[in-house]
C-alpha cells in the first residue's frame, strides 16, 4: 500500500508539472455518492463560463451520465471509468489528459468517484481539494470520515434547502470541520436554490486569478 502511494505521489508531481506548463488551475472534488458534485459543477460552470475557460474530468465506476451532463453545457468533458476501483489515481488522470487541449483551459475540474474515504488518499496534482457534504448525510459525517476534511482546503455544505426536513446542525458541522482543519474555508450552499453559490464562485474566481498572476 505504501508503495502504491509513493508511485501515485510521483505521478501526481508529473501531473502538477504539466498543469503548471499549461497554466491550469486544478480542482479535485470529493464526496459521498449523491452529495451533489455534478450539480455543483453545473452551477459553477454556468456562473464562470463567460470569462473562464473550463474543462472537466469525470471519474465514475461505470457509465458516462455525468460527462454528458457537463458536455450539455458546451464544456469539454472526459469520462474516466475506473471499472470498479473506488477512487481516481494520478495514472488514470494522466491517461485522460491527451483528450483535452489543456493550453485552452484556465480551470480544470476533476470530479472524483463518489466515495468519502479512499479518494482523500490519492493526490491528482490538484491546486485545490474540495469536499462536499450534503445536509441529508448528517453533520456527524465530519467526525466519522475525518481524512477527507483534513485533506481538503474547502468544504461545501450542500442541499441547505433541505435543512427544515433533515437532521443537520450547520454550526456543529462548522465546529467539527474547524477542529479537524482550522484553515479550511466553509461554504454553505444549495445548488437547487442558488443560495451561497455566489460566495463560492467569487472565491474560486479569485483563486484562478491569483494562479494566473503567479504563472505570469
Amino acid at each position: 500500500m505504501q508503495n502504491v502511494m509513493a508511485v501515485n505521489d510521483l505521478l501526481a508531481q508529473e501531473l502538477r508539472k504539466s498543469f503548471d506548463q499549461n497554466k491550469n488551475y486544478v480542482v479535485n472534488l470529493l464526496s459521498s455518492p449523491g452529495s451533489g458534485k455534478t450539480s455543483l459543477l453545473e452551477e459553477t460552470i454556468r456562473r464562470l463560463k463567460k470569462d473562464i475557460r473550463m474543462a472537466v474530468i469525470e471519474g465514475d465506476i461505470v457509465g458516462d451520465q455525468d460527462a454528458r451532463r457537463i458536455a450539455a453545457l458546451d464544456i469539454p468533458a472526459v469520462q474516466i471509468n475506473t471499472g470498479g476501483t473506488c477512487h481516481l489515481d494520478a495514472r488514470m488522470v494522466k491517461s485522460a489528459l491527451p483528450e483535452l487541449d489543456l493550453v485552452q483551459v484556465d480551470l480544470l475540474f476533476i470530479e472524483n468517484v463518489g466515495n468519502l474515504i479512499c479518494p482523500a488518499s490519492f493526490k491528482l496534482g490538484e491546486d485545490l481539494r474540495v469536499v462536499l457534504l450534503s445536509t441529508p448525510e448528517g453533520n456527524d459525517k465530519v467526525k466519522k470520515y475525518p481524512l477527507a476534511f483534513r485533506e481538503s482546503q474547502v468544504v461545501i455544505v450542500n442541499k441547505v434547502d433541505l435543512l427544515g426536513a433533515v437532521d443537520f446542525n450547520v454550526e456543529q458541522a462548522r465546529s467539527d470541520i474547524q477542529d479537524i482543519n482550522p484553515r479550511s474555508e466553509v461554504f454553505v450552499v444549495s445548488c437547487k436554490t442558488g443560495q451561497g453559490l455566489d460566495s463560492w464562485v467569487a472565491y474560486l474566481r479569485e483563486k484562478v486569478r491569483e494562479a494566473s498572476r503567479r504563472a505570469g
Copy 2:
C-alpha cells in the same frame, strides 16, 4: 487483489460455520455514508426487540457513535474501527466475535462502513445482504454503483419522506434495480415517519423464523 479476495472468502466460510453452529441469522448492511443504516437498525430493533434476540457489529473508520446509538436500545453492540480501510472484511468481523455471546443471538446485524463500492466485494459470512439507497442521493446511483445492487438480496429505498423536496424517481429506481438484479426485494421506507417499515420488519422476521426452522 484476487489473493485478498480468496483469503477473505475462506474466512467468510469459517464465519458462516460459526454462525450456523450458534444458529445466528446474519444481515450485512451496506450503503453510502448517511443513507440511514443506523437509523434503520434503530427502527428495526425497536420493532423486533420483544421476540427476537439481536446483536450488532458496527463498522466505522474511527469512533463509536453508532455503537453507542445501538447500545442505548439495550442491544449488545461491538464497534470495529477499520482505521482507514473503506470496508469490513471477514477477518475484522472474526476479531469482533469473542465480544459477543452468539449462543444468545437469533439475529446479528453487521453495519458496514459507509461506502457504496468496496463493501460489496467482501463476504462476511452473512445470510442476507441489504443495500440502502436514500432519496437525496438520486435514483441514478443504482446504475452508477451496480455491484452493490447486484450483490444484495434486498434494497431499501430510505428517506421517502423527502420525495417532494428531492429529485428521485422511485419507479425508475425499481426498474433499474430489476434490470441489475431481477430477484431482489425492494422496500420503500422512511425511518423518520415509519412508512414502509412494517413490511420490511415482517420480511425479516419471516427470514429469521425460516432459518431457525432449518437449524432445528
